[in-house]
Symmetry: C2
Subunit: 328 residues, 2 copies
């Protein structure tokens, strides 16, 4: 009874902080247009296909880091580093596994099917011929073909919807919009939250309007904690969905403990634990029934740790969805 009281109290605190965060956020641009796109995408992919087989599962993959503006007319901001490589790779494997993917990504980060391209593909992959024509350099042919063809194919088939964000405000507003739009899917919806989300923010209304002046002395800043939206996602926005979050640490000594804490605190179905320096080789999937270590298949050149990871999560998701239909 006592612990129940505490938990209700802290729920109220979270709700108050969430309200404060959204109240302080600048309004999302193109809100009606994004809602419309989402509605169409979800409708098209959740319809039974022509031959009567079951509808496509839909996953929202979040990717890249969010920024925290320090000034309203933004010159300076705090950024959470993430190349978006994990999210882009995972999107490819979810598509391969038959999912439709909403790719909620940081503007300018890695895109699906573009991971093997150089940083500046246009300048580094192309050359001009003596006849004045532009052609792909021979060594880059395969990477360029894959990027353009597979990417266009996924978009053209209507299996991939890309929504960009930059700030923490945009990210959480979009995540809320997506989650509420996906609610109708029940347990067929999945959230794969691999974005690197800021832990701290400056409330919009307490932010300097103009550029902070550096006239004298050090800069002292106090940042508020971003409310833990994972709880709100699970409880209010998408209570039936299968939810996976990520825990990234640089200190391996605390990684699994922190992942396990996140699993319990936010009631995730699984937490993918990864360490910064080895994240492309190995991850640990932490669940209520134990931990599974997933490694990249080193015997295959160019293989990704995301391949066995998505296989496992897709199986877990199927079992999760079946357990619901068994209940009904």
């Amino acid at each position: 009874m006592g612990s129940n009281c505490i938990s209700e109290d802290s729920q109220e605190t979270v709700d108050r902080e969430v309200k404060k965060f959204f109240d302080s956020a600048p309004p999302l641009k193109n809100h009606p247009c994004i809602s419309e796109k989402l509605k169409n995408f979800i409708e098209q992919n959740s319809q039974l296909s022509g031959n009567g087989t079951s509808c496509r599962k839909i996953v929202c993959v979040t990717s890249g880091g969010t920024t925290v503006p320090l000034e309203q007319r933004c010159v300076r901001y705090i950024d959470n580093f993430s190349s978006g490589h994990r999210g882009a790779a995972s999107t490819e494997y979810f598509l391969k596994a038959g999912y439709a993917v909403i790719y909620l990504h940081r503007r300018g980060t890695c895109q699906p099917y573009c991971r093997s391209l150089p940083d500046d593909p246009l300048l580094e992959c192309f050359e001009f011929t003596n006849e004045g024509n532009i052609q792909v350099q021979r060594s880059q042919c395969e990477a360029v073909r894959k990027a353009i063809m597979d990417h266009h194919a996924a978009l053209a088939a209507g299996f991939l919807l890309k929504l960009p964000f930059t700030t923490i405000f945009e990210y959480l507003q979009l995540l809320q919009l997506i989650a509420i739009s996906m609610r109708s899917l029940g347990p067929a919806a999945m959230f794969y939250l691999s974005a690197a989300v800021s832990d701290f923010y400056v409330p919009w209304d307490s932010m300097a309007e103009h550029k902070i002046q550096s006239a004298s002395g050090p800069l002292d800043m106090s940042l508020a904690q971003v409310p833990k939206m994972l709880s709100v996602l699970r409880r209010d926005w998408a209570p039936m969905a299968f939810c996976i979050s990520f825990k990234l640490e640089t200190d391996p000594g605390i990684l699994l403990e922190k992942a396990s804490m996140a699993l319990n605190k936010y009631k995730m179905h699984a937490v993918v634990a990864n360490e910064l320096s080895t994240r492309k080789e190995v991850v640990v999937v932490v669940t209520g029934s134990g931990n599974t270590c997933i490694r990249r298949d080193k015997s295959q050149a160019g293989s990704d740790v995301e391949s066995p990871l998505i296989d496992l999560l897709a199986d877990m998701h199927s079992a999760f969805a079946r357990s619901f239909s068994a209940q009904v």
Copy 2:
């Protein structure tokens, strides 16, 4: 006498702060390789050309924003926003005006001749044909051709050297290296400092090694001021060079005053004052002999404010170099 004392005192303070900054910085990667590239580039462009005409002037254009890491194994950092558009455009006009350009730019920002491309050129400019070939979309042909041809041409001719940075530490270490390498050019060297440089930093050795934990409460941070390297550049690194710095503000009411203060304090030859919201239309060149307002030529579609700006600065630089040869 009294004011002389104060100025010497403050010079000592600056020197101490500069030493502290560089001592605390992580070592620059590829230092010998970059030095070698710089040496060759400067030698090739400062030789008299075959027909005995005078050697090429060299300008170092800095572009994009620097980052300040908040953790040693960097997950979070403070970023100064800048697309790099100004530096990229200016580089094109400097090349057109006969300069060789060292383009010291933030990794991933706008590149010369690529300004009219969409954000994600490979995915947005190309399509595949029914025969399975890749081709440029008709509407993007001109932009893609310009990007690839003009960019390759400048590199192939040896008139453009691109050096990337990310952090404030890399930026200032590279700027010092470039300035010292260009010292032999005397007044034929120019610095065009359009990068958005962080005013504050966390000294490397006082930085958290691991990711800052967000366990409880707000985050309080205290950042030190980055020493004013413009003074050091003028006094020690490149005392004979022609130096242009930039002042960007969001508040037009303080812009010209701050530009004028910077001109005097750092002994620049000119300060380009620009306001965030109108910076592509108008800038004011602030010098000891007065201010010149430079506007984009609106009568010409696709014209840039950088075109008349670089014309003016190239003229000022020629007059500056002539005044030296007259003295000799």
